[in-house]
């Protein structure tokens, strides 16, 4: 096949091509997998890194933001493992089963693999691919119609990640916590790919956290397959150390009569983008997709959501809140698609930005694409500063300015965090917000 390459590649694009050529043969998987990787890389090369004239990436100009492509993360050394030993501690309060990945590689010695609940299986994607697991090879990216730059790069370069199966009807007693920690001393590129398959009627609380100390370029993809009548919570948190450049993609398909609660919790790091492609494939599902984000300095966080109602009678509620201080940029692009025939869809999306400085920027872009006639859909977006009247009321009671602001900011964020069903996790997230606010008051 002939592919016409664009003539003037950026330094990052050139480096990605060189990295792929060098790494290709050593990446895990069968010949069939290599062919999938090659095809994905060709799709990437034909489009290149997206820039501001590409609508989906208008506010996160990857070509400008990604000046170089880091080398792939190396084999873990002792120092790296030492730095990673407390991975996941920031959410210790929830007493979850932790499965740890260090610089993208499965770290069984840091993971809790004892006495797995009946119906739960947890493993390494790299191992499955290396062993030529045909089901997994075939199922990666199966049914995914998204042609996205980050997804293509991930498919081309993916090394390791979690492979989780929950049997039909199984109810996990403890949250399952996938911990991704960046611990290497040199900044590297990390491509993790996880596949989580949840059977009919299963009950799962899945937490995914990204943390660390390294200035990595992280590209994480999670494919979440939710069976009919399953009840699934997925909470993704990212904090300082999630990467100098962090792009995360959720590909979720949700069966019929299911309950799905998605929550994105972001404490700013460098440049971060969370992409969510959620497809409601069966009727009668109730879903909530929410998020809260706090940014300062020159941090950038982009939430790009496509909620696709492919089957009728589903309810989805989307609520995103961002707090923007300093010169930070918050981006929300949300699209609800109602496919022909998805009648009785009930979808409402709201996004609110709270600007704490004159130099912070919020870009809110909610969209509806509706191809059915008997639906209830709506969206709303606001951006504003703290209410002066409320601030005065608090101050008139003796509460200093910064503390008064903190109370109102916590209330603002709290409205979204309230949607997290797990009380312990909710408290834990609000503690992180409080710590962020305390650092703000101190500084």
């Amino acid at each position: 096949m002939n592919v016409e390459l664009r003539s003037n590649k950026t330094a990052a694009e050139t480096a990605l091509a060189a990295n792929f050529a060098a790494a290709r043969a050593g990446l895990p998987g069968s010949m069939q997998m290599t062919a999938v990787r090659d095809a994905a890389f060709r799709r990437f090369e034909s489009a290149g890194l997206p820039h501001r004239r590409i609508e989906e990436w208008k506010y996160t100009d990857l070509r400008a933001l990604m000046r170089e492509a880091k080398p792939l993360a190396r084999i873990l050394d002792k120092q790296t493992m030492l730095r990673a030993r407390d991975a996941g501690e920031m959410l210790a309060g929830i007493e979850a089963r932790r499965i740890v990945f260090v610089d993208g590689a499965f770290a069984p010695e840091l993971s809790d693999l004892h006495a797995l609940e009946p119906g739960l299986s947890v493993g390494s994607l790299a191992q499955a691919l290396a062993q030529g697991d045909a089901d997994t090879t075939r199922q990666l990216g199966e049914g995914v119609s998204v042609n996205d730059v980050a997804l293509n790069l991930n498919t081309a370069f993916m090394g390791d990640g979690a492979l989780v199966d929950v049997a039909p009807g199984a109810a996990l007693g403890r949250p399952l916590h996938l911990v991704f920690i960046n611990a290497g001393s040199e900044s590297s590129a990390v491509f993790v790919r996880s596949l989580v398959r949840i059977g009919k009627g299963a009950r799962v609380m899945l937490v995914e956290s990204h943390e660390g100390v390294s200035e990595h370029q992280v590209n994480a993809v999670l494919e979440l397959r939710i069976g009919d009548e399953a009840h699934v919570d997925h909470v993704k948190t990212s904090g300082p150390g999630a990467g100098a450049l962090h792009v995360s993609t959720l590909l979720a398909s949700v069966g019929a009569q299911a309950r799905f609660n998605e929550f994105l919790f972001t404490i700013g790091s460098g440049v971060l983008r969370n992409q969510l492609f959620v497809r409601f494939a069966g009727e009668g599902t109730i879903a909530a997709i929410r998020g809260a984000c706090v940014l300062k300095g020159r941090q950038h966080a982009d939430t790009t959501l496509v909620a696709e109602h492919a089957a009728g009678g589903c309810t989805s509620r989307e609520l995103f809140k961002s707090v923007l201080d300093g010169e930070s940029h918050g981006v929300f692009q949300g699209r609800i698609i109602v496919r022909p025939g998805a009648q009785k869809t009930d979808a409402k999306m709201a996004t609110h930005a709270l600007l704490l400085s004159d130099t912070a920027e919020a870009h809110n872009k909610p969209e509806l694409e509706i191809f059915a006639d008997d639906v209830q859909c709506g969206h709303g977006a606001t951006a504003g500063s703290l209410d002066e009247g409320l601030l005065f009321y608090l101050k008139a009671r003796g509460i200093p300015e910064k503390e008064a602001q903190a109370l109102l900011i916590q209330a603002f964020v709290g409205e979204a965090v309230e949607g997290v069903e797990h009380a312990g996790l909710r408290d834990c997230l609000m503690e992180h917000v409080a710590a962020w606010l305390a650092a703000r008051s101190g500084g």
């Binding site: 608090l394 008139a396 200093p400 109370l407 409205e415």
Partner: protein, 251 residues
């Protein structure tokens, strides 16, 4: 010495003169009432005392215990013992009343170098005062004033006043929007707080409130200055004859 002294106070809002040389002195433990027609500057006075942004003091001074009040931020004024009961208390969704009360009390105590209240100590205090004002526990768990009726909001103001134990209380048209039963509850709450160390400035349009909170001194405010001062009988006179004579006098 007077607890509160307002001397030759001139205030403008958006370039318009609202207060024009207001003079007022309130001694320790006394209750003063300010009555006046709409637009005479009553609420402006309350807001300037509490430090609400948007008002420009062009002349004059305000002293609390001899200290320049206008140089302080609103929270510092509160810590010094000034309390404003709002005419329109605001709703703060997401901030539980209990959290709000505890934060306010401990912020003030911290500023005064007093130890913070322990949780059981604080809870008991709130429960006792709330019960007297007919505020139930469920209301305290809700967001501040969220879903409260007009009367409940005013009772919540008095609850805050009782807990914060200020020395100088300013009540800005606390009677507005209250029916007679609610008015009695609020007035009783205020009367329980009267003491030799605590002074009140009761701002009202109507004499009715002063039947329940009986003042020592009544002032008439018109066009931004005090035009008449008398005893509690002055309020009754005003009720009978209205404000028109004072508006003419000031003109």
């Amino acid at each position: 010495m007077h607890l509160l002294e307002v001397k030759n106070l001139h205030v403008t809002v958006d370039g318009r003169n609202i207060l024009n040389g207001l003079e007022l002195s309130i001694g320790k433990g006394s209750v003063h009432a300010i009555m006046g027609p709409n637009g005479s500057g009553k609420s402006t006075l309350a807001h300037v005392l509490a430090g609400k942004p948007g008002y420009e003091v062009t002349q004059g001074e305000v002293l609390l215990d001899g200290e320049d009040l206008l140089a302080l931020s609103p929270d510092e004024r509160a810590a010094k013992g000034l309390f404003l009961a709002f005419q329109y208390p605001l709703e703060i969704p997401g901030v539980a009343t209990m959290t709000f009360l505890r934060t306010a009390i401990n912020a003030q105590r911290k500023k005064r170098a007093q130890p913070e209240f322990s949780t059981p100590e604080f809870l008991k205090k709130v429960r006792d005062v709330a019960a007297k004002l007919g505020i139930d526990q469920e209301m305290l768990r809700r967001g501040v004033n969220v879903g409260f009726s007009g009367g409940e909001k005013k009772r919540n103001e008095i609850l805050q006043m009782a807990l914060l134990e200020p020395r100088m209380c300013v009540l800005d048209e606390t009677d507005s929007g209250l029916d007679i039963d609610a008015l009695k509850v609020v007035a009783e709450g205020v009367n329980r707080l009267r003491s030799a160390d605590r002074s009140f400035l009761v701002i009202t349009h109507y004499q009715r409130l002063l039947n329940y909170i009986v003042p020592d001194v009544v002032h008439v405010l018109s066009r931004g200055r005090i035009v008449k001062t008398g005893g509690k009988e002055l309020a009754l006179e005003l009720e009978a004859s209205g404000y028109s004579q004072y508006q003419d006098e000031a003109a």
